[in-house]
Every structure is written in C-alpha cells, then in structure tokens.
C-alpha cells in the first residue's frame, strides 16, 4: 500500500520486516496475488507463492477434495493476471470442486476499481468501475463471486452489499476449504 501510494521509504521498511519474519522458510504462501506479486518484484529470489499457484504448480494438486454446490463467478484480479501471473491455476482448482458450477461473466478481466487508495482518492471513477463490475455479475445467475485477493473482494462485496444484491463474495481459500 505504501509503496504504490508514493511512500516508498515506509513501504520498503514494511517489506523488509516481512522478509525478516519469514527468514529461513522453505516456501511462503499467501492468499493474495497482489502481495505475492509485489514481494516477488522486490525479492525475486525468495520463494513466494500465491495459494492457488502453490497448490497447482508446486504441489501438482488440482483436486483438493472440496465440495461447494453453488454457481460461482471467478473474478481474475488484475494483479493475479498481470503481476503475479498465476495463469489458470484458480480455474483448474475451481473446476475440480464437487458441485461447483463456474459461471462466466462480461468484462471479467477488467479492473473492479479498487486500486488501494484509488478507491478513496478517485471515488467517483472507482464507483463507476465498481457499478459496471456489479452489473456484469448480477447479469448472470451466479450466487457467489470469488477471487484470489481480499482487497478486490472487499470492494466488490461492498458494492454488492450496498445494492442489496443476491450475489455474495467469497475468497477462493474458503471455497477450497468447504466440505
């Protein structure tokens, strides 16, 4: 947050603290592609993995034995696509969840408008982007919208809740842990 907002000095202190905290770990797994992407840019040699890519790419596991009998739309977050480059790992995992129906929607790859402090500094534009994302989700029969990043889900979920939508947000990890 600090580095991307223009406070690099604070930001690099925080990332150094994080790197120290995980010193000596064989692998670090995080349920956030944005964090993982950023840490990899800073420390390309450290073994940072986003959860879905850790499961699929590192462990070779696509079926985690989860059951989630719902219609789910997957929002591929910007940083999972274009910074962390997780590829299709999340979709592979979701397709193997028993009972789950993956629902496509329009403008999937477009940003939801969060962008950290952008949501506050440019709240009108951010709100317009969010409205389009929520419209696209409500246009489907999805019950849930999932993603790899809590930040996008906080934003999309906040928008859906404001319009009292039937679509709810859920993190990919929560689906994979469902029985």
């Amino acid at each position: 947050m600090h580095t991307n907002s223009g406070f690099e000095a604070d930001g690099s202190k925080l990332s150094r603290a994080l790197i120290r905290a995980f010193d000596g770990c064989e692998v670090v797994v995080a349920p956030s592609s944005s964090c993982v992407g950023h840490m990899r840019e800073l420390e390309p040699d450290l073994p940072f993995y986003e959860l879905s890519e850790f499961l699929v790419k590192r462990l070779g596991l696509e079926d985690v034995g989860a059951r989630f009998a719902h219609r789910v739309a997957y929002h591929p977050s910007c940083h999972s696509l274009r910074v962390a480059h997780v590829g299709d790992a999340p979709e592979r995992l979701l397709r193997n969840v028993s009972g789950l129906e993956l629902v496509p929607f329009g403008g999937e790859r477009e940003c939801c408008g969060f962008g950290g402090t952008f949501a506050i500094k440019n709240s009108a534009v951010s709100g317009a982007m969010l409205a389009d994302k929520c419209d696209a989700l409500e246009h489907t029969d999805a019950e849930f919208c999932t993603a790899l990043d809590g930040s996008c889900l906080l934003h999309i979920g906040g928008g859906l809740s404001r319009r009292k939508s039937r679509v709810r947000t859920i993190h990919l990890a929560e689906i994979l842990a469902s029985q």
């Binding site: 947050m1 600090h2 580095t3 991307n4 907002s5 223009g6 406070f7 690099e8 604070d10 930001g11 202190k13 925080l14 603290a17 905290a21 910007c78 940083h79 696509l81 274009r82 910074v83 790859r109 477009e110 940003c111 408008g113 969060f114 962008g115 950290g116 402090t117 952008f118 949501a119 506050i120 500094k121 440019n122 709240s123 009108a124 534009v125 951010s126 709100g127 317009a128 982007m129 969010l130 409205a131 906080l154 934003h155 979920g157 906040g158 928008g159 809740s161 404001r162």
Partner: protein
Amino acid sequence: MTPTFSQRAEHELQNTVQRSNLRRAAKTIGARRAMVVASTPDWEELREAGRAIKTEALGRLDEYLLQFEASATAAGTTVHWASTGTEAGEIVAHICATDGAHSIVKAKSLTTDEIHLNEQLAAHGLDVLETDLAELILQLDHDWSSHIVVPALHRNRNEIMEIFKRTIAPDLRTDEPADLAEAARSYLRMRFLNSDVGISGANFAVAETGSLCLVESEGNGRMCTTLPRVLISVVGIEKVIPRFQDLEVFLQLLPRSATGEQMNPYTSIWTGVTPGDGPEEMHVVLLDNRRTNVLADPVGRDALGCIRCGACLNTCPVYTRSGGHAYGSVYPGPIGAILTPQLDGLEKHASLPYASTLCGACYEVCPVKINIPHILVHLRNQVPHRKSERLAMRLAALVLSKPRRVEVLSRLFRPLARFANVPGWSRSRDLPPPPKQTFSQWWRGR
C-alpha cells in the same frame, strides 16, 4: 488552482451521453486491436524490437539528432531548434510572415497542440484551419481533443451533424457518415487548393536519411504536406529513430495498436525538397519543451518512447469512464498520466499519477512495452504529499510493522467497525461486518 483529476472526472462522469459514446467507441477499437494482434504471430517479437529501437534512439539521442539535422539539411530541408513551445511558435510565425502566408492548413498533430500553436499564431494574426476531420469538428465547436488517435471520440454523429449545420453546412440533412464526410470534404477542398502554408507534425523522423513519416487515415494530412508551397513540420526530439529500416517495425506496430488495422491507410514519407513535386520550401522545427529533462530521469524517460497509438487509452478502465478531458492535457489516458506531469510539471499535475488503479492493462497492450504502472509509482514517490496524508501513512506503517500492534488495534476497533464511515469509500460501498475473531485468535485456537 488547477482542478485535480478527481474533480474533473467527477464532472465528466455526469455527462452520460459522452460516457456511453466513449465506452462504445473504446470497446470497438480495443476489440479490433485484440483481433488483429492475435493474428500476428510475431507480435511479441515486434514489441520487443520496437522497444529496443526506442531505447537505442533515446540513449544516443544527441548523436541521432545531429545526424538527422545533417541529412535533412542535405536533402534541402531547413532545420530549426526550439527549446520551448513559445520558441517553436515564434519560429513558425516568422516563417509564415516571411512567406506572406494567407491561408494555413494543418494536419492532425499532438505536438502542435501541446504547445498551443494555433493560439500562438492567432496572436500574430494568423488563422490556422484544422483539416483532420475530428480536429475540424472540435475546432468548429471550440471543443478540444479527448483521445490521442480519435480526438472527437466523445462526440457522436448526431452531435457532429448539429455542429456542421451550425457552421459549415447549413443544408445538411442527415447524420449518415457519408453525408458528414461529404460536408467536411466540400468545405475543405478549396481551402486545401488555395493554401500557401501547411503545418504538420511527424510520427517518425529518420536520422539516417533526414526523412519525416506521417501516419494518418484520411489523406487530409497528405494534402497538407503536399499541396501548399511551404511545409512546416513541428517534431518532438523524441520522434527520431536511427534507420529508415526501423520504420518496418513501427509501421507494423502502430496501425495494429491504434486502429486495429493490418496496414495504415495513408503513410507519407518525405525527404526534403524535390523540384516540381510537392512543397518548394520545407522546414522542420525540432522541439525540446522539457523532453531533455524527462530524458535525464532513468525511469521516467521510457515515456518518451511512446508512438501515440492510444491503445493504453482504449483498454484503460479509468480513461473509459472519466474520458480524456479529465486529464486536463492533450495527452490523456495512462500515457498522459506519466507524460503530462513530466512535460508540464509534477506539482501542477500532482493528481495525474494517481489517476490509475495500477491494474496493468496499459502495459499489457503497449506496442513498445512502456511499463506505465511502474512509472506511475515512480512519479507518485516524487509528488509533494499533503502533511495529513504523510502522517496517516506513517501511522499505518508503524502499526503494520509489528504483528502485535495489528492484533491489539484490530481487537480494540472491532466493536466500532460497524459504525465506520470512510469518506469516499462509503459513498458507493459498504464495509464488511467485523469478523467474530481476529486472525491471531483464530490461529491460536485451531
């Protein structure tokens, strides 16, 4: 004080007609681009080549500029150097005065818009006619460009019909594209034939041969560069490329990225004066206007590699909502957000580096691989921050640097979270209900 991006965008967002014009047009161009790029098997190699040429050219710009001057002069072009926009305006005005210019026609050119050339010449009593269809529409309506490639993207054909009826074609009956084009054509044709000075920019200036290259879709640009007796081209110094052969790369990258076409409709390349063919007098004004300052910044300088294709605008989720005018510059969109503050002052345009979610869509489509998000963050780190914001970020850093502090504070504030009202946020979104336990509590109790 100059309004911020957020203030301008707020205003632009209320114009719902413009919003839907913009969304539709940008989506159409963007989809066409995606299709033609998908059918270009060596697209990534082309991008890499384009980036390499630009890096080479900018890295040795001093040498290539002198080489360009020598080859252009040898071909019969008069080369002028302007360190500011005002200087460039004076040079152009002087040439027009010396030649006793009465009728000046201008091809679409962002560089001349950047230095407000029309206004500068008007102060000398010289009227300039914009001949690019979109630029003409905007000139007639005292409006200004909102897109690098498609300046009137924010207007629809019904609005254009109304503008034409009011100004150049009172008898116009329909808003059919063919009728609109015909109205502009009949208005422009005699003016082209009677013009004595043409003004243009250039997409590329070739150091090796002294040639200029202009890429356009209508042919009106070519009429400006061939019909008048005198041609003046105002060219930013960053437009220089080393070799004629380099055009091969850019003439593949540019039309695909700009309009989704395999090949550009009108590509004009000219090298000095040819007696009996085209203008008798040719001038090039090489414009700095702070470009050398940009060049001195090892991160920010990549922005100078831009070939003005506009692909980053069409794909940008922010631009396609806010529109071009919100950026307050002739260079809107993601590229404008990194170019304008560097060319026209970071303090004056302090809000522009923040006009992005850093989603990375611009970087993905850029034909010369300018890492726009990276430069945005770089500029954010140079922006003068407000005291209150500095303090808030410092406090947040203090808390976030120790897990224990995060734990204590989230326990303290959990009961209050449901009453939180965050300005800006709560306008269109709710906050989630606070969780029953903190992460650490859950972790310990597993």
